[in-house]
Protein backbone atom coordinates (compact mmCIF):
# COMPACT_ATOMS: atom_id res chain seq x y z
CA UNK A 1 0.00 0.00 0.00
CA UNK A 2 2.78 2.36 0.95
CA UNK A 3 4.49 1.83 -2.40
CA UNK A 4 1.27 2.43 -4.30
CA UNK A 5 0.78 5.73 -2.50
CA UNK A 6 4.37 6.68 -3.11
CA UNK A 7 4.05 6.07 -6.85
CA UNK A 8 0.76 7.95 -7.01
CA UNK A 9 2.34 10.85 -5.18
CA UNK A 10 5.26 10.93 -7.55
CA UNK A 11 3.00 10.75 -10.57
CA UNK A 12 1.00 13.72 -9.32
CA UNK A 13 4.20 15.50 -8.43
CA UNK A 14 5.63 15.06 -11.87
CA UNK A 15 2.42 16.51 -13.29
CA UNK A 16 2.31 13.56 -15.65
CA UNK A 17 -0.96 12.24 -14.40
CA UNK A 18 -2.88 15.12 -12.91
CA UNK A 19 -6.06 13.95 -14.55
CA UNK A 20 -5.90 10.48 -13.07
CA UNK A 21 -8.63 9.70 -10.59
CA UNK A 22 -7.46 10.45 -7.05
CA UNK A 23 -4.98 13.05 -8.15
CA UNK A 24 -6.04 16.47 -6.91
CA UNK A 25 -5.27 19.36 -9.21
CA UNK A 26 -4.08 22.95 -8.71
CA UNK A 27 -0.76 24.28 -7.42
CA UNK A 28 -1.38 23.67 -3.72
CA UNK A 29 -2.67 20.14 -4.27
CA UNK A 30 0.40 19.45 -6.38
CA UNK A 31 2.64 20.79 -3.64
CA UNK A 32 0.85 18.59 -1.11
CA UNK A 33 1.40 15.54 -3.29
CA UNK A 34 5.02 16.44 -3.81
CA UNK A 35 5.47 16.97 -0.11
CA UNK A 36 4.01 13.57 0.73
CA UNK A 37 6.28 11.96 -1.87
CA UNK A 38 9.26 13.83 -0.44
CA UNK A 39 8.55 12.50 3.05
CA UNK A 40 8.29 8.93 1.79
CA UNK A 41 11.54 9.29 -0.11
CA UNK A 42 13.42 11.11 2.65
CA UNK A 43 12.77 8.97 5.73
CA UNK A 44 13.58 5.36 6.54
CA UNK A 45 12.21 3.14 9.27
CA UNK A 46 14.79 2.74 12.02
CA UNK A 47 14.36 0.57 15.10
CA UNK A 48 10.96 1.12 16.70
CA UNK A 49 10.31 4.24 14.57
CA UNK A 50 8.47 2.85 11.57
CA UNK A 51 7.31 4.76 8.50
CA UNK A 52 3.68 4.79 9.71
CA UNK A 53 4.75 7.52 12.13
CA UNK A 54 4.52 9.87 9.15
CA UNK A 55 0.82 9.05 8.69
CA UNK A 56 -1.33 11.78 10.22
CA UNK A 57 -4.67 11.56 11.96
CA UNK A 58 -7.24 14.36 11.70
CA UNK A 59 -5.73 16.50 14.42
CA UNK A 60 -2.13 16.11 13.33
CA UNK A 61 -3.06 17.06 9.76
CA UNK A 62 -5.24 20.01 10.79
CA UNK A 63 -2.59 21.37 13.18
CA UNK A 64 0.25 21.24 10.63
CA UNK A 65 0.41 24.86 9.59
CA UNK A 66 1.22 28.26 11.04
CA UNK A 67 -2.52 28.91 11.31
CA UNK A 68 -4.96 27.24 13.68
CA UNK A 69 -7.62 25.19 11.89
CA UNK A 70 -11.16 26.65 11.63
CA UNK A 71 -13.26 26.56 14.80
CA UNK A 72 -15.46 23.75 13.49
CA UNK A 73 -12.43 21.53 12.83
CA UNK A 74 -11.00 22.28 16.26
CA UNK A 75 -14.34 21.33 17.82
CA UNK A 76 -14.31 18.05 15.88
CA UNK A 77 -10.75 17.24 17.01
CA UNK A 78 -11.63 18.05 20.60
CA UNK A 79 -14.85 16.02 20.49
CA UNK A 80 -13.12 12.96 19.06
CA UNK A 81 -10.29 13.32 21.56
CA UNK A 82 -12.71 13.57 24.49
CA UNK A 83 -14.53 10.47 23.30
CA UNK A 84 -11.19 8.60 23.10
CA UNK A 85 -10.35 9.07 26.76
CA UNK A 86 -10.26 5.87 28.74
CA UNK A 87 -11.12 6.70 32.32
CA UNK A 88 -9.10 4.84 34.92
CA UNK A 89 -10.07 1.30 35.78
CA UNK A 90 -12.30 1.15 38.83
CA UNK A 91 -12.42 4.94 39.04
CA UNK A 92 -8.97 4.81 40.66
CA UNK A 93 -7.32 8.13 39.71
CA UNK A 94 -4.43 8.15 42.15
CA UNK A 95 -1.19 6.30 42.72
CA UNK A 96 2.01 7.22 44.51
CA UNK A 97 3.57 10.64 44.14
CA UNK A 98 6.87 9.38 45.57
CA UNK A 99 7.34 7.31 42.41
CA UNK A 100 6.35 10.14 40.09
CA UNK A 101 9.43 12.34 40.24
CA UNK A 102 11.51 9.83 38.29
CA UNK A 103 8.75 9.69 35.69
CA UNK A 104 8.45 13.48 35.49
CA UNK A 105 12.22 13.83 35.11
CA UNK A 106 12.74 11.24 32.39
CA UNK A 107 12.57 12.30 28.76
CA UNK A 108 13.30 8.80 27.51
CA UNK A 109 11.01 6.97 25.16
CA UNK A 110 9.62 6.28 21.69
CA UNK A 111 12.71 7.43 19.75
CA UNK A 112 14.30 5.14 17.16
CA UNK A 113 17.19 4.39 19.49
CA UNK A 114 14.94 3.19 22.31
CA UNK A 115 14.69 -0.60 22.29
CA UNK A 116 10.94 -0.87 22.86
CA UNK A 117 7.72 1.15 22.92
CA UNK A 118 6.70 -0.50 26.23
CA UNK A 119 5.39 2.38 28.41
CA UNK A 120 7.24 0.90 31.40
CA UNK A 121 10.48 2.00 29.72
CA UNK A 122 9.19 5.52 28.95
CA UNK A 123 9.42 8.72 30.92
CA UNK A 124 6.73 11.38 31.13
CA UNK A 125 9.09 14.17 29.93
CA UNK A 126 7.17 16.59 32.15
CA UNK A 127 10.11 18.81 33.10
CA UNK A 128 11.04 19.29 29.46
CA UNK A 129 8.12 21.72 29.21
CA UNK A 130 6.77 22.43 32.72
CA UNK A 131 7.87 23.71 36.09
CA UNK A 132 6.64 21.18 38.67
CA UNK A 133 8.48 20.72 41.99
CA UNK A 134 10.00 24.05 42.92
CA UNK A 135 13.25 22.34 43.92
CA UNK A 136 13.93 21.37 40.30
CA UNK A 137 15.30 24.47 38.59
CA UNK A 138 15.95 22.79 35.25
CA UNK A 139 12.48 23.00 33.73
CA UNK A 140 11.11 24.01 30.35
CA UNK A 141 8.56 26.69 29.56
CA UNK A 142 6.66 25.40 26.52
CA UNK A 143 3.81 24.46 28.87
CA UNK A 144 2.48 26.38 31.90
CA UNK A 145 4.00 26.02 35.36
CA UNK A 146 2.44 23.17 37.30
CA UNK A 147 3.92 24.24 40.64
CA UNK A 148 1.12 24.25 43.23
CA UNK A 149 -1.17 22.70 40.59
CA UNK A 150 -3.58 21.14 43.09
CA UNK A 151 -3.28 23.84 45.72
CA UNK A 152 -4.13 26.64 43.28
CA UNK A 153 -7.22 24.69 42.25
CA UNK A 154 -8.40 24.28 45.82
CA UNK A 155 -7.69 20.56 46.16
CA UNK A 156 -7.42 19.92 49.89
CA UNK A 157 -8.88 16.43 49.83
CA UNK A 158 -8.92 14.38 46.61
CA UNK A 159 -12.01 12.46 47.82
CA UNK A 160 -14.07 15.65 48.12
CA UNK A 161 -16.79 15.47 45.40
CA UNK A 162 -16.35 19.21 44.79
CA UNK A 163 -12.91 18.60 43.27
CA UNK A 164 -14.03 15.70 41.04
CA UNK A 165 -14.19 17.90 37.91
CA UNK A 166 -10.56 19.02 38.24
CA UNK A 167 -9.48 15.44 38.88
CA UNK A 168 -11.27 14.23 35.77
CA UNK A 169 -9.95 17.12 33.69
CA UNK A 170 -6.37 16.37 34.80
CA UNK A 171 -6.71 12.70 33.89
CA UNK A 172 -8.21 13.66 30.55
CA UNK A 173 -5.44 16.15 29.88
CA UNK A 174 -2.79 13.51 30.54
CA UNK A 175 -4.66 10.89 28.52
CA UNK A 176 -5.49 13.04 25.51
CA UNK A 177 -4.54 16.72 25.75
CA UNK A 178 -6.31 17.46 22.46
CA UNK A 179 -9.70 17.02 24.17
CA UNK A 180 -9.29 20.47 25.70
CA UNK A 181 -7.17 22.23 23.07
CA UNK A 182 -7.31 20.65 19.62
CA UNK A 183 -3.81 21.71 18.62
CA UNK A 184 -2.17 21.39 22.04
CA UNK A 185 1.61 20.91 21.97
CA UNK A 186 1.31 18.25 24.66
CA UNK A 187 1.61 14.58 23.69
CA UNK A 188 -1.39 12.31 24.20
CA UNK A 189 0.21 10.13 26.85
CA UNK A 190 -2.66 7.68 27.28
CA UNK A 191 -4.09 7.72 23.79
CA UNK A 192 -0.68 7.20 22.13
CA UNK A 193 0.27 4.55 24.71
CA UNK A 194 3.31 6.51 25.88
CA UNK A 195 2.38 5.95 29.51
CA UNK A 196 0.19 3.28 31.12
CA UNK A 197 -2.57 3.77 33.69
CA UNK A 198 -0.32 3.12 36.67
CA UNK A 199 2.17 5.75 35.54
CA UNK A 200 -0.60 8.27 34.91
CA UNK A 201 -2.00 7.59 38.40
CA UNK A 202 1.41 8.38 39.90
CA UNK A 203 1.55 11.65 37.93
CA UNK A 204 -1.99 12.50 39.08
CA UNK A 205 -0.80 12.14 42.68
CA UNK A 206 2.24 14.30 41.98
CA UNK A 207 -0.01 17.07 40.65
CA UNK A 208 -3.02 16.82 42.96
CA UNK A 209 -2.11 15.12 46.25
CA UNK A 210 -1.94 17.84 48.95
CA UNK A 211 1.11 16.01 50.39
CA UNK A 212 3.01 16.08 47.08
CA UNK A 213 5.99 18.47 46.90
CA UNK A 214 4.18 20.18 44.03
CA UNK A 215 1.54 21.48 46.46
CA UNK A 216 3.83 22.71 49.25
Amino acid sequence: MKIDKKLAGLACAAGAAVLLAGCATGPSANLDAEFKAMLQNSFSARGIAKMDRLDQDLGQAACSSAKQPPEAVLKQIEGEALASIKWPTGGQYFGDWTRADKLAQSGVGMAWNNPTTDPKTNGGQCYNCHQIDKKEISFGTIGPSLYNYGKLRGVKDVTDPKVAPIIQYTWGKLYNSKAYAGCSNMPRFGHAKILDEEQMRDLMSLLLDPRSPVNQ
Binding site: D32, F43, R46, L54, M110, N185, I194
Partner: protein, 268 residues
Protein backbone atom coordinates in the same frame (compact mmCIF):
# COMPACT_ATOMS: atom_id res chain seq x y z
CA UNK B 1 20.83 37.23 23.46
CA UNK B 2 20.03 33.82 24.83
CA UNK B 3 22.24 30.83 25.19
CA UNK B 4 21.85 27.22 26.19
CA UNK B 5 23.45 25.69 29.22
CA UNK B 6 24.22 22.26 30.54
CA UNK B 7 25.30 20.59 33.68
CA UNK B 8 28.66 20.20 31.99
CA UNK B 9 28.83 23.94 31.60
CA UNK B 10 27.82 24.46 35.21
CA UNK B 11 30.45 21.97 36.29
CA UNK B 12 33.04 23.82 34.29
CA UNK B 13 32.05 27.06 35.98
CA UNK B 14 32.29 25.39 39.37
CA UNK B 15 35.81 24.27 38.59
CA UNK B 16 36.83 27.80 37.80
CA UNK B 17 35.57 29.10 41.10
CA UNK B 18 32.37 30.72 39.88
CA UNK B 19 30.19 28.85 42.35
CA UNK B 20 29.06 31.70 44.58
CA UNK B 21 26.67 33.39 42.19
CA UNK B 22 25.23 30.20 40.66
CA UNK B 23 21.69 30.45 41.83
CA UNK B 24 21.36 34.08 40.80
CA UNK B 25 22.83 33.53 37.37
CA UNK B 26 20.57 32.87 34.46
CA UNK B 27 21.25 30.04 32.09
CA UNK B 28 22.24 32.62 29.52
CA UNK B 29 24.85 34.21 31.78
CA UNK B 30 26.24 30.78 32.54
CA UNK B 31 26.82 29.74 28.98
CA UNK B 32 28.13 33.15 27.98
CA UNK B 33 30.80 32.81 30.65
CA UNK B 34 31.51 29.27 29.62
CA UNK B 35 31.95 30.39 26.05
CA UNK B 36 34.36 33.07 27.17
CA UNK B 37 36.40 30.47 28.97
CA UNK B 38 36.68 28.52 25.76
CA UNK B 39 36.88 31.49 23.41
CA UNK B 40 40.51 30.79 22.63
CA UNK B 41 39.99 27.10 22.32
CA UNK B 42 36.73 25.92 20.79
CA UNK B 43 37.50 22.26 20.01
CA UNK B 44 35.75 22.84 16.67
CA UNK B 45 38.99 24.45 15.54
CA UNK B 46 40.62 21.03 15.46
CA UNK B 47 37.92 19.89 13.06
CA UNK B 48 38.46 23.00 10.95
CA UNK B 49 42.16 22.16 10.62
CA UNK B 50 41.28 18.60 9.65
CA UNK B 51 38.66 19.83 7.18
CA UNK B 52 41.06 22.18 5.43
CA UNK B 53 43.62 19.40 5.10
CA UNK B 54 40.99 17.06 3.68
CA UNK B 55 39.94 19.70 1.14
CA UNK B 56 43.49 20.11 -0.17
CA UNK B 57 44.70 16.53 0.03
CA UNK B 58 44.64 14.16 -2.95
CA UNK B 59 42.39 11.27 -1.84
CA UNK B 60 40.01 8.60 -3.01
CA UNK B 61 40.11 6.19 -5.97
CA UNK B 62 40.91 9.09 -8.31
CA UNK B 63 43.61 10.44 -5.96
CA UNK B 64 42.36 14.02 -6.35
CA UNK B 65 41.75 16.91 -3.98
CA UNK B 66 38.46 18.78 -3.59
CA UNK B 67 40.02 22.07 -4.64
CA UNK B 68 37.98 22.13 -7.88
CA UNK B 69 34.70 21.47 -6.02
CA UNK B 70 32.01 24.02 -6.89
CA UNK B 71 30.07 24.91 -3.75
CA UNK B 72 27.94 27.39 -5.69
CA UNK B 73 30.29 30.31 -6.12
CA UNK B 74 32.52 28.70 -8.70
CA UNK B 75 35.08 25.85 -8.58
CA UNK B 76 37.26 26.10 -5.49
CA UNK B 77 35.52 29.14 -3.97
CA UNK B 78 34.97 28.41 -0.29
CA UNK B 79 34.78 31.90 1.20
CA UNK B 80 31.13 32.80 1.78
CA UNK B 81 29.81 29.61 0.17
CA UNK B 82 28.06 28.30 3.30
CA UNK B 83 26.11 31.57 3.62
CA UNK B 84 24.38 30.82 0.28
CA UNK B 85 23.53 27.15 0.76
CA UNK B 86 21.32 25.25 0.02
CA UNK B 87 21.09 26.36 -3.61
CA UNK B 88 20.36 24.91 -7.05
CA UNK B 89 23.21 23.19 -8.92
CA UNK B 90 22.81 22.79 -12.67
CA UNK B 91 25.18 19.81 -12.91
CA UNK B 92 23.07 17.67 -10.56
CA UNK B 93 19.74 19.36 -11.31
CA UNK B 94 19.10 19.45 -7.56
CA UNK B 95 18.96 21.93 -4.75
CA UNK B 96 21.79 20.84 -2.46
CA UNK B 97 23.03 21.73 0.98
CA UNK B 98 26.70 21.79 1.91
CA UNK B 99 26.92 18.17 2.96
CA UNK B 100 25.07 16.74 -0.06
CA UNK B 101 27.22 18.93 -2.31
CA UNK B 102 30.36 17.58 -0.67
CA UNK B 103 29.16 14.05 -1.42
CA UNK B 104 28.73 15.06 -5.08
CA UNK B 105 32.28 16.45 -5.22
CA UNK B 106 33.75 13.47 -3.40
CA UNK B 107 32.12 11.21 -5.98
CA UNK B 108 32.85 13.18 -9.15
CA UNK B 109 36.33 14.48 -8.26
CA UNK B 110 37.67 11.80 -5.93
CA UNK B 111 35.75 8.70 -7.04
CA UNK B 112 34.12 7.90 -3.69
CA UNK B 113 30.65 6.33 -3.73
CA UNK B 114 28.33 9.04 -2.40
CA UNK B 115 25.47 6.62 -1.70
CA UNK B 116 27.72 4.45 0.44
CA UNK B 117 29.03 7.39 2.47
CA UNK B 118 25.44 8.61 3.00
CA UNK B 119 24.57 5.28 4.67
CA UNK B 120 27.31 5.57 7.30
CA UNK B 121 26.56 6.57 10.87
CA UNK B 122 27.68 10.03 11.91
CA UNK B 123 31.25 10.11 13.12
CA UNK B 124 32.23 6.97 11.17
CA UNK B 125 34.75 6.69 8.32
CA UNK B 126 34.23 9.11 5.44
CA UNK B 127 31.15 10.53 7.19
CA UNK B 128 33.46 11.98 9.84
CA UNK B 129 35.45 13.55 7.01
CA UNK B 130 32.31 15.14 5.55
CA UNK B 131 31.64 16.67 8.98
CA UNK B 132 35.21 18.01 9.25
CA UNK B 133 34.99 19.46 5.73
CA UNK B 134 31.65 21.10 6.58
CA UNK B 135 33.14 22.53 9.75
CA UNK B 136 36.01 24.18 7.91
CA UNK B 137 33.85 25.37 5.02
CA UNK B 138 31.23 26.86 7.37
CA UNK B 139 34.03 28.65 9.23
CA UNK B 140 34.96 30.33 5.96
CA UNK B 141 31.58 32.12 6.16
CA UNK B 142 32.02 33.31 9.74
CA UNK B 143 30.76 36.88 9.96
CA UNK B 144 28.78 36.63 6.72
CA UNK B 145 25.00 37.09 6.76
CA UNK B 146 22.84 34.33 5.27
CA UNK B 147 21.96 35.12 1.69
CA UNK B 148 20.36 32.10 0.06
CA UNK B 149 19.41 32.47 -3.59
CA UNK B 150 15.73 32.05 -4.45
CA UNK B 151 15.98 32.70 -8.18
CA UNK B 152 15.54 29.18 -9.48
CA UNK B 153 12.06 27.64 -9.40
CA UNK B 154 13.43 24.57 -7.58
CA UNK B 155 14.93 26.78 -4.87
CA UNK B 156 11.55 28.39 -4.30
CA UNK B 157 9.86 25.00 -4.32
CA UNK B 158 12.33 23.72 -1.72
CA UNK B 159 11.43 26.68 0.48
CA UNK B 160 7.72 25.86 0.15
CA UNK B 161 8.36 22.17 0.91
CA UNK B 162 10.55 23.15 3.85
CA UNK B 163 7.78 25.29 5.28
CA UNK B 164 5.39 22.33 5.12
CA UNK B 165 8.00 20.09 6.74
CA UNK B 166 8.56 22.62 9.52
CA UNK B 167 4.92 22.53 10.57
CA UNK B 168 4.27 18.83 9.84
CA UNK B 169 3.02 17.04 12.94
CA UNK B 170 3.37 13.33 13.29
CA UNK B 171 4.64 10.42 15.33
CA UNK B 172 3.48 9.19 18.74
CA UNK B 173 4.08 12.60 20.36
CA UNK B 174 2.42 14.78 17.67
CA UNK B 175 5.57 16.88 17.39
CA UNK B 176 6.59 19.13 14.51
CA UNK B 177 9.63 21.41 14.31
CA UNK B 178 7.23 24.19 15.34
CA UNK B 179 6.38 22.41 18.61
CA UNK B 180 9.74 23.58 19.95
CA UNK B 181 10.71 26.37 17.55
CA UNK B 182 7.40 28.12 16.97
CA UNK B 183 7.05 30.50 19.94
CA UNK B 184 9.22 33.28 21.33
CA UNK B 185 11.03 32.90 24.63
CA UNK B 186 10.47 29.19 25.17
CA UNK B 187 12.90 26.58 26.37
CA UNK B 188 13.21 22.85 26.98
CA UNK B 189 14.66 22.31 30.43
CA UNK B 190 17.22 25.14 30.46
CA UNK B 191 17.82 25.04 26.71
CA UNK B 192 16.65 28.23 25.01
CA UNK B 193 14.91 27.55 21.72
CA UNK B 194 15.30 29.80 18.69
CA UNK B 195 12.12 30.60 16.77
CA UNK B 196 12.77 29.33 13.26
CA UNK B 197 9.73 30.22 11.15
CA UNK B 198 11.27 33.70 10.99
CA UNK B 199 14.70 35.22 11.54
CA UNK B 200 15.89 34.35 15.08
CA UNK B 201 18.82 36.80 14.74
CA UNK B 202 22.59 36.73 14.52
CA UNK B 203 24.38 33.59 15.62
CA UNK B 204 21.21 31.60 16.34
CA UNK B 205 19.50 28.71 14.60
CA UNK B 206 21.23 27.74 11.34
CA UNK B 207 23.83 30.46 11.97
CA UNK B 208 25.26 28.35 14.83
CA UNK B 209 25.67 24.97 13.09
CA UNK B 210 28.04 23.17 12.53
CA UNK B 211 28.87 23.25 16.23
CA UNK B 212 30.99 21.42 18.76
CA UNK B 213 28.71 19.88 21.36
CA UNK B 214 30.08 20.14 24.86
CA UNK B 215 27.57 17.65 26.31
CA UNK B 216 28.83 14.74 24.24
CA UNK B 217 32.16 15.99 22.93
CA UNK B 218 31.07 15.64 19.31
CA UNK B 219 31.32 17.85 16.26
CA UNK B 220 27.96 18.05 14.54
CA UNK B 221 27.13 19.31 11.07
CA UNK B 222 23.71 20.60 10.09
CA UNK B 223 22.65 17.16 8.81
CA UNK B 224 23.30 15.60 12.19
CA UNK B 225 21.52 18.47 13.96
CA UNK B 226 18.41 17.87 11.86
CA UNK B 227 18.68 14.10 12.19
CA UNK B 228 18.69 14.41 15.96
CA UNK B 229 15.79 16.88 15.92
CA UNK B 230 13.77 14.26 14.05
CA UNK B 231 14.86 11.54 16.48
CA UNK B 232 13.53 13.71 19.31
CA UNK B 233 10.37 14.34 17.31
CA UNK B 234 10.09 10.52 17.39
CA UNK B 235 9.94 10.41 13.60
CA UNK B 236 11.59 7.72 11.47
CA UNK B 237 15.16 8.52 10.52
CA UNK B 238 15.77 11.14 7.81
CA UNK B 239 18.27 9.77 5.28
CA UNK B 240 21.54 11.70 5.08
CA UNK B 241 21.25 14.48 2.49
CA UNK B 242 17.58 13.60 1.81
CA UNK B 243 15.29 16.23 0.34
CA UNK B 244 13.44 16.90 3.59
CA UNK B 245 16.72 17.91 5.26
CA UNK B 246 17.58 20.18 2.34
CA UNK B 247 14.07 21.67 2.21
CA UNK B 248 14.23 22.52 5.92
CA UNK B 249 17.64 24.16 5.54
CA UNK B 250 16.33 26.17 2.59
CA UNK B 251 13.33 27.29 4.63
CA UNK B 252 15.38 28.25 7.69
CA UNK B 253 18.25 29.76 5.70
CA UNK B 254 15.97 32.02 3.68
CA UNK B 255 14.12 33.01 6.86
CA UNK B 256 17.48 33.92 8.39
CA UNK B 257 18.49 36.29 5.62
CA UNK B 258 21.22 38.60 6.92
CA UNK B 259 21.70 36.74 10.22
CA UNK B 260 25.41 36.68 11.04
CA UNK B 261 27.06 33.27 10.93
CA UNK B 262 29.21 32.23 13.92
CA UNK B 263 30.11 28.73 12.77
CA UNK B 264 31.68 26.58 13.90
CA UNK B 265 29.95 27.36 17.18
CA UNK B 266 30.07 25.89 20.66
CA UNK B 267 26.86 24.32 21.91
CA UNK B 268 25.36 22.42 24.79
Amino acid sequence: MKHPITLTALAALALTGATAAWAQKTASDGIAEYRELLADGNPAELFEVKGEELWKKARGPKNASLEKCDLGKGPGVVKGAWAELPRYFADTGRVQDLESRLLTCMETLQGFKAAEIAKLDFGKGEMANVTALSTWISGQSKGFGFNLPQNHALERKMYALGEKAFFYRGGPMDFSCASCHGEEGKRIRLQDLPVLYKNPGDGLGMAAWPAYRVSNGQMWGMQQRLSDCYRLQRFPNPDFASDVTIALQTYMGVNQKGAKIITPALKR
